[in-house]
Symmetry: C2
Subunit: 535 residues, 2 copies
């Protein structure tokens, strides 16, 4: 099949989309407002490239040109040296540097590039052996931009390119920094315009879940999976966490089934169970039941204490929650803004301590009229091992990410978006010979600080021009022909008033026109426009 | 070689870079200020994906996985139908839809995605045969973001990922729209902070150059190139334009040589000449000499008229320049802002009429102390054929693009950047037990609208903390220990004053400290901070 038989159909890649002005207005409101909050806490604005060496992003180490694990990757067209772990170039037996087209990836989040950035800045120190865990620098940055995921199944409303807005502190083991992340998330939500009690920042600690599971003995049991492979404690832990993570969606009863003999999903398909012992399942069920439903941070701490768990990691996690709670109380972030949720897992495997999410409690009606919840709009946590993967030195870190597009969708669906920005004052073009007059008027209006557009389209009819202006949400249209110029007047049509519902009740066209369309003296035009728009 | 022998060296891809806060401040100043100007003229903010189907971007139609023509491309991991020109799926002889992993590209500019966006919106109309040149809609948008070029040779200061800021009008053949583009470019430069007479918007018209070359007979001559292939008129025209484009860099004399027998470049390498006839070369030389050096738009129009060229295209181009000049005069954009430059070519082959560029006349010293010019920081023009390639219908268009990174570099190199933004007020952490006091103070300062950071680093020494604060351009440091709390006071160190040159002359440490470090009553802290920062 020759290429010239193919059609060049103008289209976007599946899972990608164009952002129209109204959506952009929402997106940039979120970025600007939350960015201001981040800055207020001392975060600086950094940016990193869209593409990175695949190995630096860490998650994905490909040996093929196509990818299957959710990341868009390809080979660098440029051949470059292959390096050894110590930073030296790898050479062949003739001492020639081995060259390769390295794998490149579109970034899948903003945290992996942060780890690369932080590590790269330490690299020369690292090679000199001049860096250790006690000497790691503190680094706080915020960043926003596109990230890319190659999701093979694409749910409606999900995209393969979406925007994130992250803030992170690298080089701190201070648990106060984690408490601050919760405060920032809450501040950011309210700066964006979410009302209190329509959202909640949920906090848990991975150590609590891990310690609890250790205490009840999951690291001592043996499980043979369905492929007849025996699993170690870590793998069992990950499986249990993965199932507990579903409790919000499927409820405790179904979680219990999946931990045991298995269950059927909503479509009737069979989901194989983890086949844990009755004893362990019972303990997990009790834990989930205890922390099901809303209670205050104080109650939750009391209940966690009452479990009388001896495990060291559990108690580390509990102590950290207590520190966070105390600080939040001191500064006045109450239970209506930040809550503890000991059943919360959060997906990312790299979290090592406190984890956070922001949940919207708001509901909306989908296209079929069903009531739906928006769910999580931000996520984050402490990740003490991410930099270690690159330079072998622990640089404990904590931070969170706002899902900009999810949040924009929330504001849109729950009708919390701002009023659509006014379009430009619109100058109708009747006669190209008058262009210089149109331009002079436009320049005057712009000089008064007001957006103004002259119509340059090929379809010249008045109706066509006004339809175009209406689509752009133009507030006023300026109409000038030869006659108006002779008389020194300008006709100004109030497009917004014309669309007003009250106006549509006026049946008499004369009265309607008298209200919507005014003749203004040329010398009064600018002040009339300013006055009308400000109303 | 197994992958685990490879080192994961934290590094960026060659030609890519991280953007630190100071550079980000410049970048976003440019985007915000110029964006406001675009909006003022009626452009709306749209966004398109970073990656597109390679065939939709038009320039590059690959049949391999690697690319050589300056575009980063790769295969879509997802198989999708292959389409015929009419939009139907292509089927094999068993009537099965042919599937393929289509080629995807990182966008190399923002104009090709605009053509895709505009065409895609017209596609359903197009399939219904419901669209023609007279019915094409008017569309005006601005957009900013990263674009990617795989340049095999990478000059210093050049990058493979850089930001552009475009505004375009599609669906207009009105030459006034082109005049407006010049006005917008000039307004945008001044909004960003460039002073008048440090930059110039240059305007030419491709039709003038094309018409002139037709008039002197280049479409009638025969040239056999060095590979013994005879070239047609279009090819000769492109070659001549390519050489004329160099006049700024190499001068008329060298251009004349390259049009004839050839020349040697600065390194002594031989550049093969175009071997045009003496007669033609003489005419081109005369043209270049006539329009060499600065003259007013009026003079240039007079000189173009004096050439007495009969060619239709030349005169179309000249008439368009005259329209542009008249409008600019009417609105008051004089020769010090917008100039005509009849020798200007502008690289992109798709320009069909007026072309624009913004040149900075400012000079800077490079790292070797040599004086250098910045050159072109914006480019644009009329492109009437770009949408036609996708839907076969002419949608005449005009617009321009600001090279955001080039412009940021200009502001940086010529020291026109704004003062570095103040960092946060910095709270030194002496004692973790006092954290709740530090937090309360921080919250108070933030509530007064001032950025505040509490130190969470692992290196606790005072000097380390203050070095960190200095790096972040923090104006003040707050020092509180047990003693201060007992006495109800706070020590405030003025970090900016401490760095002041005048202060360094003070030899007496006591006097110095008394000036730089103040003890403030706790209840007066916030007002003291506000007062000091506002100074």
């Amino acid at each position: 099949m020759s290429d010239n038989k193919r059609g060049i159909i103008p289209r976007k890649i599946k899972g990608f989309r164009d952002i129209y002005p109204e959506l952009n207005q929402l997106r940039w409101k979120i970025i600007t407002k939350a960015g201001e909050v981040y800055k207020k806490y001392g975060y600086e604005h950094w940016d990193t490239p869209i593409i990175e060496y695949a190995d630096c992003l860490g998650k994905y180490m490909p040996d093929r040109d196509t990818i299957e694990e959710g990341v868009y990757s390809f080979r660098n067209p440029e051949k470059e040296p292959v390096y050894k772990k110590n930073g030296e170039e790898l050479r062949d037996k003739w001492n020639k540097v081995i060259m390769d087209n390295h794998h490149l990836s579109l970034r899948y989040d903003l945290t992996a590039p942060l780890a690369r950035l932080y590590s790269e800045n330490l690299w020369s120190q690292f090679l000199k052996n001049n860096i250790n865990e006690k000497k790691i620098p503190l680094f706080r940055r915020y960043q926003f931009g596109q990230v890319f995921r190659y999701e093979t199944k694409l749910d409606p409303g999900r995209f393969r390119e979406f925007w994130q807005l992250d803030f992170d502190t690298v080089g701190t083991n201070n648990i106060t920094a984690d408490a601050e992340v919760c405060m920032i998330l809450s501040d950011a939500m309210e700066a964006i315009g979410l009302k209190r009690e329509t959202y909640i920042v949920n906090v848990n600690n991975r150590k609590i879940l891990k310690g609890f599971l250790r205490e009840i003995g999951i690291f001592e049991i043996k499980i043979i999976d369905d492929k007849n492979i025996s699993q170690n404690g870590e793998e069992i832990e990950q499986d249990i966490l993965r199932i507990i993570d579903k409790v919000d969606k499927i409820g405790i009863k179904e979680v219990v089934k999946e931990l045991g003999k298995g269950r059927k999903d909503s479509s009737g398909a069979k989901i194989i169970g983890l086949k844990l012992t009755e004893n362990i399942i019972e303990k997990i069920e009790k834990y989930l039941t205890t922390f099901n439903g809303i209670s205050t941070r104080t109650e939750i701490i009391n209940n966690l204490n009452k479990l009388s768990i001896k495990d060291k990691i559990f108690n580390e996690g509990l102590d950290e929650l207590i520190i966070i709670d105390k600080l939040l109380n001191d500064i006045g972030y109450k239970d209506d803004r930040i809550a503890f949720l000991p059943t919360m897992v959060r997906g990312m495997a790299y979290y090592t301590g406190p984890v956070f999410e922001v949940n919207s409690m708001q509901k909306y009606k989908d296209e079929k009229g069903r009531e739906r919840k928006v769910g999580a709009i931000c996520g984050g946590g402490r990740y003490d091992g991410l930099v270690e993967k690159l330079i072998g030195i622990k640089a404990p870190a904590t931070g969170a990410s706002i899902g900009v597009d999810r949040l924009a969708e929330l504001l849109y669906l729950t009708k919390q978006k701002d009023k659509l920005e006014n379009g430009p004052v619109f100058i109708v073009v009747f006669d190209d010979n008058l262009m210089s007059e149109y331009q002079k008027i436009a320049a005057e209006i712009r000089n008064a600080g007001i957006k103004t557009e002259i119509y340059y389209g090929t379809q010249k009819g008045l109706r066509k021009q006004l339809t175009y202006a209406d689509k752009k949400n133009c507030p006023l249209a300026i109409l000038i022909g030869e006659d108006e110029i002779k008389q020194g007047i300008v006709t100004v049509k109030n497009l917004k008033l014309g669309k007003d519902k009250k106006m549509q009740d006026i049946k008499d066209r004369k009265i309607w026109r008298a209200k919507v369309q005014k003749q203004v003296k040329r010398e009064n035009l600018i002040s009339y426009i300013i006055e009308t728009i400000e109303k």
